[in-house]
Each structure stands twice: as C-alpha cells, then as structure tokens.
C-alpha cells in the first residue's frame, strides 16, 4: 500500500513538473519545508513538457520584439487570418456560418455566453488531454470556467516582462532563487508552490496572508524575507495587508491585478518597497491586457495579437475617444480564441506616442451615474474623489431614496471617516453612510437603485 501511494505521488509530481531537475526539487522543498512556511493547502505545477518550455521562451522573445497596435484608420494585419481560422475551427462560429460575415457584423459574445457552456467556443484543434481550467466567480452572477492549457498559463510571463520593461525592470533571477510570490488575503485561498522552468526553475509560491494559514502570524514576514522574491504579485487588498508586516525584503517590482488600484495606495507601496508598482488590467478570459502608465494617460496594451474595439450598448463602435465597452478579438489562449468578446469593462481608446493603443479611464463593469448635489455624476468622479486615500477596495451604492452607502474594510477607522467626507463633498453633508466591507465580499464596485443611474 505504501509503495503504491509513493508511485501515485511520483506520477502526480511527474504530471505537475514534467521537466523537474534536482535543483527544482530542492527549490520546492525549500518553499514547502521552511520553518516559517505557511500551511499549503493545494497543489499545482507548471505542467510544461520540455519542448513547451522552449516554445514559451521563444514566445517571450517574440512578444518582446513585436509592436502592439494597428493603423489609426484600419485593423491589424493578422486579424483577417485569425477571424477566418476561428470561424472555421470553433463550433459556435461554424454553426452560425460566421465566415460569410464582415468583421463588424460578427456577433459579439459576453461572459454570460461562456458561462452557459464554454465547450462550443473551444476550437477543434485544442488538445482535450492537456486541458486545464481557470475558474472565476466574478461579480456579475455568472461563474465562469475558462478552457486553457499549461503553455497558455506560462505565456503570462511574456506579457508581465513586457510591462516591466516599460518601467525599466528586467528580471535577473534564476536557479536557486525565488522569482515570484503571489499574495492573497482571503479566508479561503488556493495556495501552492511551484517552479518556473523558463526562468531556471526559480521558485513560485502562491500564499495567503490571512493569519489562519500560518502557524503564527509573525511567520508571514519571516517567510517572505527568507524567500526574497524578485516579484510580488497581488491585489490592493493583499498589498494593504503586506504593508502591515515588518518586512525587509526588496522586490524589484509589484504587480497589482484584479482591482482598481488607487494612486494613494500605489504611492504608499512604491515608497515602502522602493520599486515600481504595476497596475495590470488582466482577465481570466484573455490574460494580461494592459498596464497602467501615467505618462501614457492610461492602460497601455500589452498583447501584439489582441484587437480592441470600444462598443456602445447596441454593439456599435463608438466615435473615436468616446467611452464604451472594451471588446476584444484575438489573444494568446489557443483553447479560447476570442471574437468580439465584450469584457463588461469600460474605457475610451487613444493611440499613445509610441503607437501602442491606450485604454483611458478604465473602469470595471457597467458605468453607473450617481445623483449628486449638483446633478448627475459618473462613477469615475467617485473614483477621483477617493484617489488621494490609500483604500484597498471599496464599493459605492446609491439607494432608491438617493442616500449613498460607502463600504470599505476600514469603515471604523480614520480612513473610513476621510473617505466619507470626500464623498460628502460630492453628495452633501449627511448623505453618505459607512458600512464594513469584508475581504471575502465579491462586490460590484459601483451600483445604484436610483432611476436613471444606468443609461
């Protein structure tokens, strides 16, 4: 029985780490067995075969060398072939006879379409045996399972590197070092250790800063300092928790994904860790899309083969410079090629000085109007009113009677009081109340029950 268990464990390790060397095995042991290590609750791995590691490295070189964008009055050169191949190989589009349609007449799809059944969107060529999934619960009531592949997961790094290069950061770590620690701060969190073969089997740890995942809370700082990762990835909530720890580590860069990163929190993080903090717009459906660059005026696109349209509610392109829904075609997930995928996120689009398109005033989910003291204002005005405060995450809801509820984890602190008075400059004294937002809440950031709020 013992021998069989060992065989099973060996098989699982082989599947998770097909190219693992002794150095990689030692890194995994270091991450798992450090005296201050957290309780790792799950398993994962890079799952890359040897030839795929080479492919991933080649892909990184191609992404680094490629330009991003398209002519101001046209479409990218790769688009026509991509659309033709997708219409021929994806059952959903084949059934529609979509190949006969011009690009603008192709139907748009949304998260709800993928949530209903992802299978018709997976091309005939996708290898079922190697398929993996990425799952999100989201805030729109449509739990989503995204078909993906180990190579697709590994390709994320190419776009992170492109984003870092924009801020003068070139990764230098390799064998025997820890490349990245992914931070969460949730009651329940998927945690594991791994190695990145394209970076000399450097270490990767996904950890939960929530105290329950540690033998003692002080271990968090001890462990992170011992790992000394070159990159820390997280979201505004986990980074806020990170700021509370007595750390000495000096990462080269912080990657913030998933949520709006307010400028004040970014400034705090940059000052504390002495490195750039990259605010990356990334979706499970398509990976890293863009990185925020204040000098460019917004989020600069990262993927050479991703075409962005900005559409109105009826699915028509808006006038240049107007806000609308970010709609994507292309991507690097060969298990889910996207044709006019409506993200549910909003921005306007301009072309930056270097030719790369820029998403301006990106905001998640459907825009909401609030009725303020001097008439209707946009949810972006609310963001602006709060941007000087280091708030990790918040939500603003206007009730049908016009009263505004501001929720944030720090509702009972000075930060909460400051946030309320910032909103009262918009809505009037006494018009805003505070409630506590827990880290587990998956909230819609902006919402309203007021008539006329959703146009």
């Amino acid at each position: 029985m013992v021998a069989r268990m060992t065989d099973t464990a060996a098989d699982e390790e082989q599947e998770r780490f097909p190219t693992l060397t002794e150095a990689g095995r030692a890194m995994l042991a270091f991450l798992r067995e450090h005296p201050a290590a957290p309780i790792y609750r799950n398993h994962s791995g890079n799952k890359l075969l040897a030839h795929e590691v080479r492919d991933v490295r080649q892909f990184e070189r191609e992404v680094a060398a490629a330009s991003v964008g398209w002519p101001a009055d046209g479409k990218p050169a790769w688009l026509a072939d991509f659309v033709r191949d997708t219409c021929a190989s994806v059952p959903y589009y084949r059934q529609l006879g979509a190949a006969a349609l011009t690009f603008e007449l192709l139907p748009t799809v949304s998260r709800a379409d993928f949530a209903a059944d992802i299978a018709p969107f997976v091309p005939d060529s996708a290898d079922v045996a190697r398929m993996i999934n990425f799952r999100t619960t989201g805030t729109t009531g449509h739990p989503l399972v995204i078909a993906s592949h180990p190579v697709v997961a590994a390709r994320y790094l190419a776009f992170h590197k492109r984003a870092m290069r924009r801020f003068g950061v070139e990764l230098t770590h390799g064998a025997g070092q820890v490349g990245v620690v992914l931070l969460g701060y949730q009651q329940r969190c998927f945690t594991y250790v791994s190695v990145t073969p394209a970076m000399g089997e450097s270490g990767l740890a996904k950890i939960n800063l929530y105290p329950d995942d540690w033998r003692k809370p002080e271990d968090r700082a001890t462990y992170l300092d011992a790992l000394a990762p070159e990159v820390l990835a997280g979201d505004p909530i986990s980074f806020t928790e990170l700021l509370k720890l007595p750390l000495t580590l000096r990462p080269r860069v912080l990657l913030s994904v998933s949520m709006l990163l307010l400028p004040a929190l970014r400034a705090q993080l940059e000052q504390r860790f002495g490195c750039p903090v990259l605010d990356i717009y990334s979706l499970n459906e398509v990976g890293p899309v863009a990185v925020f660059d204040a000098a460019a005026g917004g989020h600069v696109l990262l993927q050479p083969q991703l075409y962005v349209e900005i559409l109105d509610a009826a699915g028509n392109p808006v006038a240049p410079g107007q806000r609308g829904e970010i709609t994507l075609t292309g991507g690097f997930n060969f298990c889910l090629p996207l044709l006019r995928y409506r993200t549910g996120d909003y921005a306007s689009l301009t072309i930056g000085a270097d030719g790369a398109p820029v998403l301006v005033q990106l905001s998640g989910r459907s825009p909401v109007r609030y009725h303020a003291r001097h008439g209707w204002i946009n949810n972006i005005d609310v963001t602006h009113a709060l941007q000087h405060l280091p708030i990790p995450h918040f939500s603003v809801h206007q009730r049908a009677d016009g009263h505004v509820v501001l929720r944030l984890a720090q509702a009972g602190s000075r930060l909460g009081a400051d946030a309320r008075s910032a909103l009262e400059t918009l809505f009037g004294a006494g018009a805003v109340s505070l409630e506590v937002l827990t880290a587990q809440d998956k909230t819609v950031q902006y919402s309203s029950d007021l008539e006329g709020a959703h146009q």
């Binding site: 190949a99 299978a119 079922v128 997961a153 992170h160 969460g184 990145t196 996904k206 994904v257 990334s282």
Partner: protein
C-alpha cells in the same frame, strides 16, 4: 459551407432535366457498357482547365466488387459530370480537389441512396443533386441566404440530413469530452500563472 453565392438554381435544374442521351448511356463495367467514365472525367477536368493524375482517375474505373452498385455509381458520375460542364461552373475556377471529392465520395454516397437516373427524371432528386453539388463546392444558389440554402438542402436531401446528424453527434461528443476534461481534478488544479485574476 455554402459561403459563396453561386449560379441560378433553375438553370442547373433545367440542365439536368435535359441531360443528353450520351450521359445516360451504360458505363463500362467489366466487359459490358460503352462509356469509359475515367476518360469522361478526364475530359471534364480538361474543360475546367485541369489535368488529373492517373491515380485520381482510377477511382472512376469499375472495381470488381459489386457490378450493380458500381454501375449505379458510375452512371451518377456521368450525370454529375454533365452538370459540372455548365458554363457558369467552368468559369468559377473550381479547385480540382473539390471536383474530385464531389465526383468521388459525394457521388458514391448519393448513389447508395438512390438510382442514378432518378437524379435526372425525378424533380426532387434533381434538386437534391444540384443543391448537394453546389454545397460541396462551397456555393449556394443565387438569391438565397446561407440559412435558406442550408434549410432547403436539408429538407430535400436524405444524404444531407444524415451528414448533419453525424456532424451533430460528433460535435456533441467533442463538447462532452471538453466538459469532462475541464471537470477533472487535474484540470481543477490548473497551472502556474505569474498573476491571478
């Protein structure tokens, strides 16, 4: 399929109804029959500006397997050859692989479902042959949308209905495999990304 707008349906139906006697003659099977169908196919391809390999033409010489079914198959190749000699189709510059696929696998399947000369004499079978031929060449009759053409083809053609059913079964099986693959424990574990959304 049927992405391109093609010729007028009525013109082709009329052409089939008026198939000349030479194209309704007996195909050569063993020692019987007059028409060497491989030579006829060779002439047809020449009309389309193409030259076929001997290996490709071999398919149009009767095998010794089943005289009756071979006779029927080759008779339908002759009728379909007459259809494909239409001026509109000749001007369309059809790829050779499509022509050979139509005269080969598609005609074999149609011949298994009906008597060759019925595709000339019976109005419904005439329409079936014309619609199936156009569809396999990626055309639809002039003036019809893809949806209309697909609907009319599946109404008139048992062969098409069978093809659609098989394609639908294959698609459903593939979709089930994808759903099962994504539900596996190993797929749930996912794989490394340097950031998590």
């Amino acid at each position: 399929m049927m992405e391109k707008s093609g010729p007028d349906l009525e013109t082709l139906l009329h052409r089939l109804a008026e198939t000349p006697a030479e194209f309704l003659a007996e195909p050569r099977v063993g020692n019987a029959g007059a028409v060497h169908v491989a030579a006829l196919v060779n002439d047809l391809l020449a009309l389309h500006g193409q030259r076929a390999t001997l290996a490709a033409l071999e398919h149009f010489t009767a095998t010794g397997a089943d005289v009756r079914s071979e006779r029927n198959r080759l008779a339908l190749v002759m009728i379909t050859g007459w259809l494909l000699a239409d001026a509109w189709l000749i001007n369309a510059a059809l790829p050779q692989h499509q022509l050979l696929h139509l005269l080969g696998a598609v005609v074999t399947e149609l011949a298994q479902a009906g008597v060759a000369h019925q595709f000339v004499e019976d109005p419904d079978r005439r329409e079936e042959l014309v619609r199936v031929a156009l569809a396999r060449l990626d055309y639809r009759p002039a003036g019809e949308t893809v949806a209309q053409a697909a609907d009319r083809l599946s109404r008139i053609s048992g062969v098409e209905r069978k093809r659609l059913l098989e394609a639908s079964r294959a698609a459903e099986q593939r979709a089930a495999e994808i759903r099962a693959a994504l539900a596996r424990k190993a797929a749930e574990e996912s794989a490394d990304k340097w950031s998590r959304e």
